[in-house]
């Protein structure tokens, strides 16, 4: 279903129909242009919700792409470009959320979970070294006894 819906919304958003990263926007210097492309992939097109400005061709995305290139040309480092955009558009513009008090849990969760999971798995493996006596014998119910008896009787007849 997911693709289907992606497709629906994309059409709505892409009514302008242009393609992202048009040739007329590109920087002459391939090194700077490559940096701009990489940065564009980390920045969200604010009106398109879940797309980077690199992939979107909404007008705002185009404006942001030009802005990124402008900042790069004026000598900003990647971090400065990101800081510049975050100041103006808020953390929402970052597809890779910066580590702040608000995102500590987000960034910490995978590490905490993997440590807990490894510990739990390790403890489980340790506990399994010895057999669990209680696990062996589960008495049969009356029905099962009857079924078993029937099966055995059938076998004898053969």
């Amino acid at each position: 279903m997911s693709r289907l819906l992606a497709v629906v919304a994309l059409v709505l958003l892409f009514a302008a129909g242009a393609r992202a990263a048009n040739p007329d926007e590109m920087l002459a210097d391939p090194v700077l242009e490559e940096r701009a492309r990489e940065l564009s992939k980390e920045l969200r097109c604010l009106v398109c919700q879940n797309q980077s400005i690199d992939a979107s061709d909404a007008d705002l995305a185009r404006d942001l792409r030009l802005l990124v290139r402008e900042r790069i040309q004026s000598g900003d480092t990647d971090d400065e470009v990101l800081a510049y955009l975050t100041d103006r558009y808020g953390a929402f513009v970052r597809l890779k959320p910066p580590l702040t008090a608000e995102t500590v849990v987000l960034w910490g969760a995978p590490f905490v979970v993997v440590v807990i999971a490894l510990l739990a798995g390790g403890l489980y493996l340790r506990s399994r070294r010895r057999p669990d006596d209680a696990s062996e014998a589960v008495p049969l119910s009356a029905e099962e006894e009857a079924a078993l008896a029937a099966l055995l009787a059938e076998r004898k007849e053969r």
């Binding site: 693709r3 819906l5 059409v11 597809l95 493996l125 070294r129 057999p131």
Partner: protein, 665 residues
């Protein structure tokens, strides 16, 4: 008239589903065979009624019956027939009906096919399936009635969204739903086992085929969706970590973990509590996915059905089922005894390792998907969690899992020999080192490291996946003897080998694409040429073409390699007048496993922006998923699922439909 009958059947199905939910359960408690006997007929009746309702809606679409609001909003008389039919589930109401149809189908199959199970367990399973059906039928009847009339009926409909007018819509949602909803049976089995208070290896054996069927359809559904996005969205991406993609990916990760833990439970009677918990988690994630997609709660490009009453309704269903199941688990799990002993270095140990990483990966995707929602609800602050986050967290979790993957099958149950297993992997390691070196040498300096490590890993997986098969047949004295052993290996062994082989292929495709893809974006006029990856594209001409309900502006390219013409490519910009929507129709040419991919951008006078991609080995990404699914099919034919089967089901078995693969399980 038929519309009213369809609506009536839906309401009737709700009534029957309530009977299905209650009576067999009471029967199971009282050990009354007559009450339990109602499980089968009520499950069959629910399915028949929902199927009738679905058929009625389909007929309305085929006839372009514009007295139904749903048809008006999503169809058009000039639309090609296949899209009229697939349009049935190309909207909220219809896709929920498809969801319930598949749910009812699984309920019926469980009731009819699982004859060798204890009657009380079967009655419980069918009843639990009835609860889910009741909840979602209620949802459809109360909030999403597809049979709502529109009076006066308009002369024409407003057409289906152009991007959905694609063969992808005909295939992707049904596949995905069979997988998604199929896990409901596994959930029902888990709840039934908790109610009955009995959980053993036999339970795991009954559950495994259902898990396999759901898993393989979900795998195919996700892969199909990914390929559809790849060719239809027109910028050549194949996975976007979009929340709604994640919604189907999370049940897949949990389901894959379940497949492996159920194997431990079946063979060794261990990991029981965990397996039941995973069964509950997997379907809970399916429900969560349904909620995310259907409620419009996500800040996602997907969220189009944003009507809060529906969201609250599904959230209530979610809370009742997940909350109820986990409460039941908390109360009853203590009574379940842990099983047999084993050394940490063993097949069991390897499968625990698998579960540790798959579960963590699943949790990571869950956190990343829900975090922005939760944060915004709590603080009002909006943040984005996009692909960079998932790539940074998910990929490192996959690496240890993948590296360990070929070793797992080489370890014996109870106590494995790590050194011997490592020795078995020498051949795979040598191939990996060579492949990595070649790949690193071919790649540019920037991507050399990724390319060589990634290719080495992929080669290791591909060769290593057959290590168990090699190990199990090497003692044969002659070639013929070995062949005989190969054929006689348990199908489950082959299934696992193909499953792992498929993963290796997918990894290779991903690595090749990320390290060796080339892209050119430029303005072109008729007569211009562009060169990419040794192919030369000549822009010959441009023309207008009329489709049944659209107009195409086509650019025609001829492709030559070394002066020899190899293909003709016709990317287009398509316009649908009814919806006033343009779409981009990519032209894709396949050369072996690689593809040339051309899309058109903005047209300015006689100049058009052309995007050219060369995508090396890209087909492996989806081919790997197909191979892995075939592994699932092979596993389903394993002897242990076939024996002890009652005669009627066995007679049906030769028909190779999924439902019958199920029957032979």
């Amino acid at each position: 008239m038929l519309n009213e009958l369809g609506h009536y059947a839906l309401v009737l199905a709700l009534g029957v589903a309530i009977i299905q939910s209650v009576v067999p359960l009471i029967g199971a408690r009282l050990r009354d065979p007559r009450l339990m006997g109602l499980a089968s007929p009520s499950a069959v009746a629910t399915f028949v009624l929902v199927a009738f309702s679905f058929a009625a809606l389909t007929v309305a679409y085929i006839r372009s019956d514009f007295s139904l609001a749903n048809v008006v909003e999503n169809s058009h008389s000039a639309k090609p027939m296949i899209y009229k039919i697939s349009g049935v589930w190309g909207n909220h109401e219809g896709s929920m009906l498809l969801w319930v149809l598949i749910l009812a189908l699984f309920g019926m199959l469980a009731a009819v096919l699982a004859k060798q199970m204890p009657a009380s367990l079967r009655a419980c399973v069918v009843a639990v399936q009835g609860w889910i059906a009741t909840a979602f039928l209620l949802f459809i009847v109360m909030t999403s009635n597809p049979f709502e009339r529109m009076l006066p009926a308009p002369m024409e409909g407003s057409d289906l969204n152009p991007l959905l007018q694609d063969i992808g819509l005909a295939i992707h949602p049904p596949l995905l739903y069979v997988g998604y909803v199929g896990f409901s049976i596994v959930f029902a089995f888990a709840v039934a086992a908790l109610i009955e208070g009995r959980l053993d290896a036999a339970w795991a054996r009954w559950v495994r085929p259902w898990t396999l069927v759901s898993w393989l359809f979900l795998t195919l559904g996700i892969a199909m969706g990914s390929y559809w996005a790849y060719y239809e969205l027109g910028w050549g991406g194949w996975w976007f970590w979009d929340p709604v993609e994640n919604a189907s990916f999370m049940p897949w990760l949990a389901g894959t973990a379940l497949l492996h833990s159920a194997a431990v439970m079946e063979k060794r009677d261990a990991l029981k509590v965990w397996t039941v918990l995973l069964a509950l988690i997997t379907f809970s994630l399916s429900l969560l996915g349904t909620f995310l997609v259907r409620s419009g709660v996500l800040t996602s490009v997907h969220a189009f059905a944003s009507d809060p009453t529906r969201g609250v309704f599904i959230l209530t269903i979610l809370a009742i089922f997940i909350g109820g199941a986990f409460t039941l688990f908390a109360v009853r799990a203590g009574a379940l005894k842990a099983g047999g002993a084993f050394a940490p270095m063993s097949r069991e140990g390897a499968l625990v390792f698998n579960n540790v990483f798959l579960t963590t990966a699943c949790a990571t995707v869950l956190v990343g998907t829900l975090y922005p929602l939760v944060l915004e609800t709590l603080t009002g602050d909006k943040i984005s969690v996009g692909p960079p986050y998932f790539n940074l967290t998910f990929i490192p979790l996959m690496v240890p899992l993948l590296v360990a993957m070929p070793f797992g099958p080489l370890l014996a149950w109870k106590r494995g020999d790590a050194a011997a297993a490592a020795e078995r992997m020498i051949a795979a390691a040598i191939v990996a080192v060579l492949a990595g070196a070649v790949s690193g040498w071919l790649a540019g300096t920037e991507t050399a490291l990724t390319a060589s490590l990634g290719t080495a890993l992929a080669a290791f997986l591909i060769v290593g996946s057959f290590a168990e098969v090699a190990l199990r047949t090497e003692r044969a004295s002659s070639f013929g003897g070995r062949l005989r052993r190969l054929v006689n290996l348990p199908r489950a062994t082959w299934g696992a080998a193909f499953g792992h082989f498929g993963v290796g292929l997918t990894v290779l495709g991903i690595v090749a694409l990320s390290a060796f893809e080339t892209e050119i974006i430029r303005d072109m006029k008729v007569g211009d040429t562009a060169e990419i990856a040794g192919y030369r594209l000549d822009f010959r001409s441009a023309e207008q073409r009329e489709g049944p309900n659209y107009t195409d502006a086509v650019a025609i390219f001829t492709v030559t390699k070394g002066g020899v013409p190899v293909a003709r490519m016709e990317p287009a910009r398509r316009f649908y007048p009814v919806r006033q929507m343009p779409t981009t129709e990519a032209a894709i040419k396949t050369f072996g496993l690689s593809q040339l991919y051309v899309t058109l951008g903005e047209v300015d006078g006689d100049t058009v922006v052309v995007r050219l991609f060369y995508k090396p080995l890209v087909l492996l990404i989806w081919l790997g998923a197909v191979v892995a699914s075939l592994g699932g099919v092979v596993s389903l034919t394993d002897r242990r699922f076939r024996i002890g089967l009652p005669a009627p089901a066995r007679r049906r078995a030769p028909m190779a439909t999924p439902a019958n693969a199920e029957a032979s399980a």
